[in-house]
Amino acid sequence: MKVFAKYIKLSPVAKVVIFAFLTFYSILTLFPLIWLVYNSVKTNNDFLANPFGLPQLSKLQLKNYYDAWVTMGIQRFTINSLIISSVSVIFSLIISSMAAYAIERMIWRSSQKVLNYFLSGIMVPIQIILIPLFINFKKLNLLDSRIGLLIPTVAFALPTSIFILTGFYKTIPRELEEAALLDGCSVYKIFYKIILPLTMPAFVTIAVFNFLGAWNDLLIPLVLIQTPEKMTLPVGLLNFRGMYGAELTKMFAAVVISAIPSIIIYFVLQDKLLKGMIAGAVKG
């Protein structure tokens, strides 16, 4: 990436103009978030009186955060989201790595066809399958249950995960498996003892990617979950939107709390996340 700037010689004036534009646009982009944060510590009346102004330090309302976390129930939604996202990541890693191994490393005739079958799932708009899913889950008593929520979440993570993993498995030299085979390992043992440890870097990328996908998803839980106790963060937040009334700044605090985990994950694991994103998009 450094290379490009080295070869294109821009005049100092052009560089300043570009820099100024980027700075201006970055402030424009970040300001709604900054506005959200500083209004989350105002009282409702202060906010309505002056929505643009900074909060007075003497009247900081940190209680908004306590109320959002405890009274509004953001705590419970966060826990629900954590459970669904983590468990769905674990399942999607196990299932997709097994499938990717069979497709890329095992020897059979239809492997590429099966890969294309999975990849075709990337393009399917989720709305299309929601009505049948809702109806069948109702019959199977899976509505309003964590397992019911996990099933489509994992299934929709499979296409991209399998795509990234098959690409990754292509790069592993056959000799490793041959040596293990000569030592008397079975295919299962090779997968478990040799391949899985090698897959860890790819797993981190896919895990971050799928975790954020599940964490941010609105539509599946909106359709499948009905009781507030089981709602995930996005659905729970949406439920409040209708009844904000006199609690606007508490709502701001709730939104800030919901945004924090994603931002932390991004800053800790951004290289992995961007890698997964670019790899996923290349297939698109």
């Binding site: 099966v114 709305q127 299962y188 937040l237 961007l274």
Partner: protein
Amino acid sequence: MKQLEKAFGNKLAIAIFIAPALILFTLVIPLPILHSFYMSLFKWDMLSTMTYVGFENYKELFSDGIFLSSIWHTIEITVLSLIFQVTLGLFLALCIVNITKGRKYFQNAFFIPNILSSAVIGILWFFVYNYDFGLINSILKSIGLDSLQQEWLSQKYVILALSITTCWQWVGYHMILYIAAISGISQDIIEAAIVDGAQGLKMVTKIIIPQIRPVLRVSIVLIITGSLKYFDMAWIMTEGGPDFASETIATYIYRTAFNKLQYGLGSAASTFLFVVSILVTVLINKFAAKREEVY
């Protein structure tokens, strides 16, 4: 090596490895698509019995003014999203690859909105656009431009407002793809272009854009397919309103099935959306692939 072929061609092992993914995927994605088409031939509210009506639901769909306008809104959002995100994304990417200082900050600043959930973004921008206390109107007021204050989520502006929010959410994503693509252009090509006297705009139009064409295609496909299933922002900020002014195909499906309990009609709309998605993807890939051969 016979032993190798025997071990890695083990049919049972292949089946064991592939079965969980294959079964789960088939049950959740392809089968429901077929099921959705099947249900589109019936009238059903889940309480009474299903009645077969043939293609009646499709007739009803295409004589429903709200559905027809939802197609139009979806097209508007697609076009606006393409214009905003591709041009701005490309412009930002070109700016960033040309500077050395602060690059990380700018990338993060533009990408951050993309990692937030649409619930967070939708509620935030719902407040930003609010008439009485929203960020935009309060800025306009504080700089004395009171007359420019608007009801941003009104019939007149709602599609534009939603598209701007979506651009805020996604432009950084496309920018990152473009930066990766531009950085991947081989040095030889750039050097040769410089020797040939390509500078500035010429460098962009004659070298960079043709070189990153595959990534541009991916990003255009993603924006179009994303716009076709446009749901989150429209549902969170306006529930398709006011007066259906921001109803999209996806919010129509959701409302018809889960609010009005017209599962047959909703399934017909789903099937329509599926067919359009497939057609659009195939068309873009064909069209873009042909254009690429020229270069």
